[in-house]
Symmetry: C2
Subunit: 381 residues, 2 copies
């Protein structure tokens, strides 16, 4: 049994108001190609399929395309669970009518766990899809007393322990926050104050645990208790992460052999730093100037329309930080300085930036007069 473990597709997500749907399509097509190349027997998606409980129509259409390719054309079974971003009822609609096709969607939490046995070219395995469920949901569905995420997961895992897999490897699919896991800035907290953390030891008894939620690929406790990570960098804090899907293959002892298959984004997400003139010069020959950028400008003087100038070279600058302006005295003092400066000094600086020249005597006098009149107007109104 060889399968791809992926998660956190977040279809429909935006990065600083920029739609990523083309980037997502680009990556999902790669996953289809990897599934074909590695002749896998199944694809597992461990939650946060969509970014929002009500995904936009083009996100639904993209997932529909991908599922048609996997299930109908490539004849590969797909198991997906709802994550904390997904609308469980919406994602799970008509899932009983789909399962015979090989598409298994586990939306709302139900009391009966439905183990899914998949037959691979070299052996079978049993998959247990546990949708994201907070303690309140588990209390409601199982009519039991649990107050932490760890206790709640414990209740869900009881059935996995009890189920007789007939000696086949057991694969748990979950969406949760493992204690000690590395966060990024793009994950939405499951609860405030740490009650959302689950010990990795809960999962070590199983042959493999395919997790979603954390966006960096990582394992905790044992190598087979693992996050695949998201398919794209969904925040600048992830700039140094290598995104991938996880290829899992069980040996004859049911031990998981693990390989990370890298994903190549259409546009990288990265931070560049420098003075404007140097960045503009470098941008002319940057083969990746379409990347999504956060720019940290080191220039220490005010610059007119820095964003516009940068975007003429790097079209996808999404965020600009005036690091240089803030570094010397702290941004607050700069601002205070601006306020003390008065209108004439500020305009003089502005004028020289726009025109490239200093104001002459006549221009200065005209400006002084204009400012005076404005002040008089203010006092009489």
């Amino acid at each position: 049994m060889k399968f791809i473990h992926t998660s956190d597709w977040h279809i429909g997500r935006q990065l600083h108001n920029q739609s990523l749907i083309d980037d997502q399509r680009h990556i999902l097509v790669q996953i289809l190609a990897l599934a074909e190349e590695h002749e896998v027997d199944a694809v597992i998606i461990a939650g946060d399929i969509y970014d929002r409980s009500i995904p936009p129509a083009n996100a639904v259409a993209l997932l529909d395309d991908v599922v048609n390719r996997l299930v109908n054309e490539m004849k590969l079974p797909v198991i997906m669970i709802a994550g904390n971003h997904d609308g469980h009822e919406r994602l799970g609609f008509a899932s009983r009518q789909m399962s015979d096709s090989g598409l298994h969607i586990i939306g709302p939490l139900h009391k009966e766990l439905l183990p899914i046995t998949l037959k691979g070219k070299s052996g079978s395995a049993v998959f247990y899809g546990l949708p994201y469920a907070d303690p309140a949901t588990v209390r409601h569905v199982f009519d039991c007393e649990v107050s932490s995420h760890e206790q709640a997961m414990g209740v869900l895992l009881e059935q996995v322990h009890e189920h007789d897999s007939q000696g086949l490897p057991k694969v748990v699919i979950g969406h949760c926050f493992l204690d000690g896991g590395s966060e990024s800035e793009s994950e939405r907290p499951l609860s405030i104050g740490g009650a959302d953390k689950i010990s990795p030891t809960l999962f070590t008894p199983f042959n493999y645990t395919a997790l979603g939620h954390l966006h960096g690929p990582q394992y905790k406790g044992e190598e087979q208790v693992r996050y695949s990570g998201s398919i794209l960098k969904y925040s600048f804090s992830e700039q140094h992460q290598k995104k991938s899907v996880t290829l899992v293959d069980f040996d004859s002892q049911g031990k998981a052999q693990i390989e990370l298959l890298p994903l190549a984004a259409k546009r990288d997400v990265r931070i560049v730093e420098g003075e404007l003139s140097a960045l503009l010069e470098a941008g002319k020959t940057d083969p990746n100037r379409d990347d999504y950028l956060m720019v940290r400008l080191l220039d220490k003087h005010a610059i007119l329309d820095a964003m516009g100038k940068l975007r003429s070279v790097y079209p996808n600058v999404l965020h600009l930080e005036r690091t240089g302006l803030m570094s010397d005295n702290g941004q607050l003092e700069i601002r205070r300085d601006h306020i003390k400066k008065g209108e004439l000094d500020m305009f003089t600086e502005f004028f020289s930036q726009v025109s490239g020249e200093s104001m002459n005597e006549a221009q200065q006098q005209a400006m002084v007069q204009a400012i005076d009149e404005l002040h008089k107007g203010e006092q009489s109104s």
Copy 2:
């Protein structure tokens, strides 16, 4: 081939801010029972499954329940098309993965029509599901020039004409406005100015046309070109309609035998008219006092908290019309009269209503003084 034709479920709809989800569940369970009782071979739902393109989660859960009962438990094929209220992409998600189960959802319009041949206990038939599509959508999908709804439907029907049904009856499923059809207040217009009307003659060549959109059951042109109507009264304008589903059975010549199977709402939607005291008295013995009511009060004097008094007897009064107040001189003149009356007269009337007594001299003087002080306050502010 015997099937039930229904449409315009509008799951998730509200009536004057009142959720109808329990009423909808009540009716849908009846449809399941009718399907069983009449041993039908299929259930056809001609659009407006949901009331909104983004249905609430409990609406999705209800449709999921109904579909599980029909398709998985009763083993009945279901064909549904998207209406003008439905979100085509959302409704149609994963439809290719469902169709083998017997659940056929036709969401977005595609260039290739997919005829669905269903085998019944006494003969088969071919069903052609045409989702609601305005002229712009048809122009886009078929790359053709059409400007009216009738021309657009003509393009869609070309493929139905061309398809060889091997002598089997042809059933068209559509969602549109037939010229001459009777409207209710609960249908959303498809376009402004009448360009949405389609001649019934477009459909007369087919053995049966199962239509959705108009909420009253009716046929146009020929008996087999038919609206089933909505499952519930979705406006007070429908108070005299009899809601039903349509039972269709083809005889050996492929002629449709038609029977209306009535639906019994959990709570009726009706208008009652009378003076408050009479209505309150009648309400005490009204076995249907849970109905959704619009009340037209004939009393000609102001009544304090008429809605509260009515709801103590009829809990589901949704709308109140003070017909009596408006009838004599028209509402506007009443209002003008109120304005002329002045505060003292109005308060005197109010006082006698609340207390059941007239104000005495001392009370009147206190009121005059209070009004005077208010007026002085107004002038000095």
